[in-house]
């Protein structure tokens, strides 16, 4: 950590020498947060796990909405290309510290590997808020704004049981990134939920590594290996899309009940077309929104940041067109799906 701070100091010193105008104040970790001028403009760095998915783009919209409503706040959006690039994200957070942003809001690609990065930011006097996925350990002053994945996945198992009804049924699980916190919570929640439905048997579990093509491949193979399969729970957007494609290609649409997670346009279309029975939908807009809104309040008024569950919505073909569902599906800053 001290190396990072030395580098930061060295860079700042260099900056001071070249500009030779402003009085550059090197922040000391010991005097903690609140070093920023509370009335001045704020720059808040917001980092997703990876850029390139609908989900994270919605987080970005929520973050920018909160910044816009707060006024005089700039969101610096930056992220690695792949969720698996843990080291890249560690470097990214270090760069945020080096450039002395006012606050960092991010989703950890790996709960253990990013813990030192969070701590380094705190040591440099930069407050941190986590969204979607936290670190382990998570310092007390760092809040987490996230979905209760476990509870959502338990409910996914219940939805699957309801949709399949009486009798014995074989079901399979398409997980996405074994080893990631979010994945583990959804897998555990789903298996926990299955335990209360004795008529459902989990016959296969395969990861998609968040790649639609891979999800399609493993689903095709699961369908081949288990001709009596009745239901699938696919635990994120690429997994759902790949599973639906595989079922469609095998000509078994309607015979296999799919419970999905997330709500990309093609997933919604799948719900309308009867390829998907229900979707567990998080509120990524709210994650970005709460992360930035609470960070701004903390920086300007010193309010401690409290963690919060950002909530899930269960979408079915029946409730798809209700106002509540639409606010979550098409979030905008005019009518944000958040409690303000």
């Amino acid at each position: 950590m001290s190396t990072t701070r030395r580098w930061a100091t060295a860079l700042l010193a260099a900056a001071a020498m070249t500009t030779a105008s402003a009085c550059v104040e090197v922040r000391d970790g010991s005097d903690g947060e609140g070093a920023t001028n509370p009335d001045g403009p704020l720059t808040i760095a917001v980092a997703p796990k990876a850029v390139g998915h609908e989900f994270w783009t919605t987080v970005q919209a929520g973050a920018e909405c909160a910044a816009q409503l707060a006024g005089d706040v700039t969101v610096e959006w930056d992220g690695v290309a792949a969720e698996t690039d843990v080291e890249g994200q560690v470097n990214l957070i270090q760069n945020f510290v080096t450039t002395q942003v006012d606050g960092i809001v991010y989703a950890a690609t790996d709960s253990a590997a990013l813990a030192p990065a969070t701590q380094a930011a705190l040591d440099a006097g930069i407050p941190v808020a986590m969204i979607d996925s936290g670190t382990d350990p998570q310092p007390d002053e760092v809040p987490l704004y996230a979905t209760d994945n476990r509870a959502g996945a338990v409910e996914a198992a219940n939805l699957l049981a309801d949709a399949l009804g009486e009798g014995e049924h074989d079901v399979a699980l398409i997980e996405f990134q074994p080893g990631s916190q979010t994945n583990t919570e959804r897998v555990e929640g789903f298996t926990e939920g299955l335990a209360s439905h004795a008529n459902l048997t989990l016959v296969g579990q395969q990861p998609s590594h968040s790649d639609v093509n891979e999800a399609r491949r493993v689903t095709e193979d699961l369908l081949t290996a288990n001709p009596d399969l009745d239901g699938i729970f696919a635990a994120n957007e690429p997994s759902v899309l790949g599973a639906v494609q595989a079922i469609e290609a095998a000509g078994r649409t309607g015979q296999i009940t799919v419970i999905g997670w997330d709500a990309s346009p093609d997933e919604i279309q799948g719900l309308r077309d009867g390829q998907i029975a229900a979707l567990v939908v998080q509120n990524p807009f709210n994650m970005g929104y709460l992360g930035v809104a609470n960070m701004v309040e903390h920086l300007r008024e010193g309010t401690p940041m409290e963690p919060a569950d950002t909530g899930v919505t269960f979408l079915t073909p029946e409730n798809l067109d209700t106002e509540e569902a639409q606010a979550v599906l098409e979030p905008g800053c005019d009518n944000p799906p958040v409690d303000r």
């Binding site: 850029v51 390139g52 998915h53 296969g204 790649d211 093509n213 399609r216």
Partner: protein, 337 residues
């Protein structure tokens, strides 16, 4: 079901025939190792899983392998010239998303979109080729840059969001069938035959091998090495574009994160199939065998319920063993000669 024994004999047969055709035999050495492994795995899976040897499953494997096989063929062309193409994953993603965008926003049909994808791939290949042949960058560096630029362009073109809501017709090339045979398999076969014939039957193919063995000697022999290198990269890029289109078509969407790490899969397929990273060696048939070997490991793991993480260990072991036998047999052949 046909018995395993005749084919196993066939795989072992080249041992006795190789005396006169040493050069060709050296190429066949790694191939026959990989082919034997492929055959053994095929037989084992046929007995181990009742679902393996079904038309549906075999067509599935063929379609699943199509993209990797086509892009691995492209990689093989580059590897024979003593090059490497790290940009294949990014370029495949770029071709796929741009094809998807032309369909969604410009209303192109699937065939025009396929042509666009191939053109995007060829353009990226031309860039690689110019960086290697004209700017004289090492292929590793040139394509490392293209890998990064390509992925960046994918995100810029898509705004980092998947390209969805495509018409069903977009799936034709990835999911369509002709006379019950998946279109993707037919395209793969066509690509394999055409590139294989180009390498083994044309003067251009001979030049490519010669350049990979010794670039300076090839130059002195009057082979237009720069023009040939550029052509190899353009051709490889076009194939990568075609592969990217098939991948996008299979999932009916343009995925900005498609193909991260794909370069490693295709390099593995080529190397298992006998291509040498030192240049001058490699055949499309071998690469196809390598691609299918990796695909069978993956398919078999799911069918038999083997933990996903073992798949990667198995693929790694296959790389070691195949290349070890390849080199061992080459040394023996050279010692005999």
């Amino acid at each position: 079901m046909t018995g395993p024994s005749p084919s196993l004999d066939a795989a072992a047969a080249p041992e006795g025939l190789g005396a006169r055709l040493r050069e060709r035999f050296a190429h066949a050495a790694a191939e026959s190792t990989a082919a034997a492994a492929l055959l053994v795995l095929f037989v084992v899976l046929s007995f181990a899983s009742p679902h393996f040897l079904t038309a549906d499953n075999l067509f599935n494997i063929g379609s699943q392998t199509a993209v990797i096989a086509i892009i691995a063929a492209a990689q093989t062309l580059v590897i024979i010239t003593k090059g490497i193409d790290l940009s294949v994953g990014s370029v495949a993603a770029l071709s796929g998303v741009i094809a998807a965008i032309t369909v969604r926003d410009l209303g192109f049909d699937v065939w025009t979109a396929t042509a666009v994808a191939i053109a995007v791939g060829a353009a990226a290949g031309a860039l690689n080729g110019l960086l290697v042949a004209a700017a004289r960058l090492p292929p590793f560096i040139a394509t490392l840059g293209t890998m990064s630029v390509g992925r960046g362009l994918v995100f810029i073109a898509t705004g980092a969001v998947g390209v969805y809501s495509l018409p069903e017709s977009f799936q034709l090339i990835g999911n369509g069938e002709i006379a019950g045979i998946p279109f993707a398999i037919l395209v793969t076969a066509l690509v394999a035959v055409a590139t294989g014939a180009m390498l083994s039957r044309t003067r251009f193919g001979q030049h490519v091998y010669a350049m990979g063995s010794n670039l300076e000697a090839a130059r002195r022999a009057g082979i237009p090495v720069r023009r040939n290198l550029l052509q190899v990269y353009v051709l490889a890029g076009a194939l990568v574009g075609l592969g990217g289109m098939i991948a996008a078509s299979r999932v009916n969407s343009g995925q900005p994160n498609y193909g991260i790490g794909l370069e490693l899969d295709v390099i593995a397929a080529a190397v298992i199939g006998g291509a040498s990273l030192f240049g001058g060696q490699g055949r499309i048939a071998g690469t196809l065998i390598g691609a299918f070997l990796i695909a069978l490991v993956r398919n078999g793991s799911v069918l038999l319920g083997i933990d996903i993480h073992f798949q990667q260990v198995i693929v790694g072991l296959i790389i070691w063993v195949a290349v070890y036998f390849d080199q061992y047999r080459r040394r023996r052949i050279e010692a005999r000669g």
